[in-house]
Subunit: 344 residues, 3 copies
Amino acid sequence: MAALGDWWDRLAAGNGFIEFIDACLRGVSQVMLQNNPLSGLVILIGIGWGAFDTGQPRVLGGAVVGLLVGTATALVLHADRSSLRQGLYGFSPLLTGIGVSTFLGAQALVWIYLIAGAAATTVVTLALTTVFNTWGVPPFTFPFVLVTWFLLMGAYQFAAYHVRTPSRPALPGTPEAVASYSGKAWLGMLEGVAQVYLIGSWISGAIILLGLAINSRWSAFFAVLGAVTATVIAIWFGAGAKNAEAGIWAFNGVLTAIALGSVLYRPSAEVAVYALFGVAFTVIVQAGLSTILAPLGVPTLTAPFVFATWLFLLPKRHFAPIWQHRPIGDRIFSDLRPSTGDRK
Amino acid sequence: MAALGDWWDRLAAGNGFIEFIDACLRGVSQVMLQNNPLSGLVILIGIGWGAFDTGQPRVLGGAVVGLLVGTATALVLHADRSSLRQGLYGFSPLLTGIGVSTFLGAQALVWIYLIAGAAATTVVTLALTTVFNTWGVPPFTFPFVLVTWFLLMGAYQFAAYHVRTPSRPALPGTPEAVASYSGKAWLGMLEGVAQVYLIGSWISGAIILLGLAINSRWSAFFAVLGAVTATVIAIWFGAGAKNAEAGIWAFNGVLTAIALGSVLYRPSAEVAVYALFGVAFTVIVQAGLSTILAPLGVPTLTAPFVFATWLFLLPKRHFAPIWQHRPIGDRIFSDLRPSTGDRK
Amino acid sequence: MAALGDWWDRLAAGNGFIEFIDACLRGVSQVMLQNNPLSGLVILIGIGWGAFDTGQPRVLGGAVVGLLVGTATALVLHADRSSLRQGLYGFSPLLTGIGVSTFLGAQALVWIYLIAGAAATTVVTLALTTVFNTWGVPPFTFPFVLVTWFLLMGAYQFAAYHVRTPSRPALPGTPEAVASYSGKAWLGMLEGVAQVYLIGSWISGAIILLGLAINSRWSAFFAVLGAVTATVIAIWFGAGAKNAEAGIWAFNGVLTAIALGSVLYRPSAEVAVYALFGVAFTVIVQAGLSTILAPLGVPTLTAPFVFATWLFLLPKRHFAPIWQHRPIGDRIFSDLRPSTGDRK
């Protein structure tokens, strides 16, 4: 495996076209915060499987076109080269491509929308990077979310498009009745891994999990942990069975758990607890966003992960001492006692 | 009184547990932008009176649990110690505790929601402090607003929760018919002081006003001024009698008047005029937010105060000359004439 | 013309009152990102023509009062004098005055709303300038948009006001049926130039275009280009004929094209392509915002222009190399090849 990686790296270093493909494949894995072309390739196979399995082969086309257009736009705009090589301008346009082809049908006009949307996603990535650099947090998949929301909400105003989101604009009302859960909820958690890429297939979920494990077993572990935790909390609070069994409550938890548990902090027991609290928070944000978006007829996409992770990253300097593994328990009250006389 | 204060301060300085209680009590008063444990204690009595008076004793429990959990979370996360001692990590979670127990009923599951929400409020406080430091303004009660909005909107998606907000999700429509106002509108203004803590009782309002006056008579004065001005403007514009008489139009005006009139600027005739303009602005923001939130089925909480006060604080450097008490009237036009030849 | 300009400039430099008038007239032209008192005067005549032509003479009054109150507020608040002289505190309150008098009828109470709203628009301008300075972008007309949205949404809560926006709060639904387009669509594009000032009259559009050309022929050219491009895209995507023929899809495109094509970048073929991409983006943002605002019953105003232009300005540092006119085509792939061995 390592030898294969070295061979590919040498190939990419010596050929601009291969390097472009390398950046695109890394982009596929960057949705999951990984930086590995082989992971990206395996995940792309998982996307392809799901696209054909659910009878929407155009979704694979949308994914590839979005990825290529988005990465090429960054190239044309002379965006930061190191970020480009890591696939950081490819992952959001990839998702925009999947989102547009999933939720807007298969007309020719949709492809113009998709290509312009993928290019715009890269522009939005550059803009939001400038804004969020102020506080040292990355935009994650928010450019995808923002552009896809506007493309879908915009499509409601145009007769040439037919929006096929899970629900039409409606006032948020009484929650779905809690059905008796079948064993399918467990497959739903695996399907949740695929739902990160908007794919509703548990086999795709397994393939994508394999792609994840190729680069980082911790990330694969936290992906499963996040999917299980998020779904269990949602079911406990009385979420409807249909969404839970389709992995709808899982996929944002997958991303938050990977981000907080294995990428942005070094894995440890304390970090795992913090990540799980972040996952619980993600579930609430997703439920709240579902209410906000109900009158607009668009899904939450990965916004709950983005908002929750921003929130848990922003105070990081304040948290610094926690990661020094001091015993916390016995210091809760004594901590307030001034030891140096700094009290005014 | 001063001797009592000294005795308490010595006690708190020598004992971690008493200091924690001191920080919590200060937190109760910080909702009103005060920093005084005795004020906090009196206000807590006012909250308790209202909780029992309106037949919802659990609200007092929610308030205390929110306050303790929020402050303890800041302690565990090693947040800035000086801010912690002033109660700045307690006031938003206190309100989250009141909000959740008021609007979500009394089931066991609600308490898990409340505890997690109070802890999350502290995390949001830390995050928003980082963001708003960029422009030198504090987040005020916005962490409470944001978390409570999401908890309530999220609850609409879960069968295990029953949302009891004043109005269900609905399209914003024609305003309530203007009823003939009874003398109750005057008590409504006093009730508005209690509505800062979501309490609908004018006796609580009187007790809370007393707590306010213990620390700052100017603040108590501006609280009344803000309540009267905001309610009068709302009635003048044709707001419905029911809300006006319940203090719903008053409580954001109370906060804006205290903030702009007595805490963030030094009280003076000019500052009073500026504060009253801020109160008028708060009424418009509250009405606009009511329209925005109507389809989502959640109340404005203290967001109108927060937005209006941010807006009137952000340009503060531009206003600097005003506070130097120059005669303004006769300089309006002459001011434009270049005196130093700095015109290009 | 130049002699006239010199004479006026000398007059304004020597007299505070004339200088105030000069700042106000420049403010009228600043809506279109121009800084020219004569342009402002001609445009004001265009506004007046439209106000009488559409049977709403009060709109001219609202425009003038908003302009005077907003500029005077900046004067009283001792805002930055150089910005004041360029009319930068006048253009948003001018639009607020037009918006309030157009959408809220003619009662006496509306004028209090209008005056307070115009003053508030200046405060919001100062606040947003502080916020957006962080990223080096101006707030454009967003203070107008924000204040007018809140004034209108607020009015829904008050019995004393009657909101007369194009559509009442409603769930976003199926788009208007595509009617057969008459030749009126071409006049609609000219009307779109007037719609920047919320005026529905193509003759006003022609007068305003003349005012624009007095200061910058490039701006007039890009105004027409933006109007045509935006309307053509909207019609192509299946927007309803009624709005397209009233210039509703054109006016944000006018502003984006002027801003990106002739003011913020130096006009060139490349910049024109970039500006047209910005115009296309503006159309999507406008459609998406229409969906977002449908349940709230307020129009998009110039928000689509503001959002799109922010987005295309924020990554400007990244775009720098583009404007150096390197041949782009043959470097797309070779660009990725490391030339200096900086690859890790």
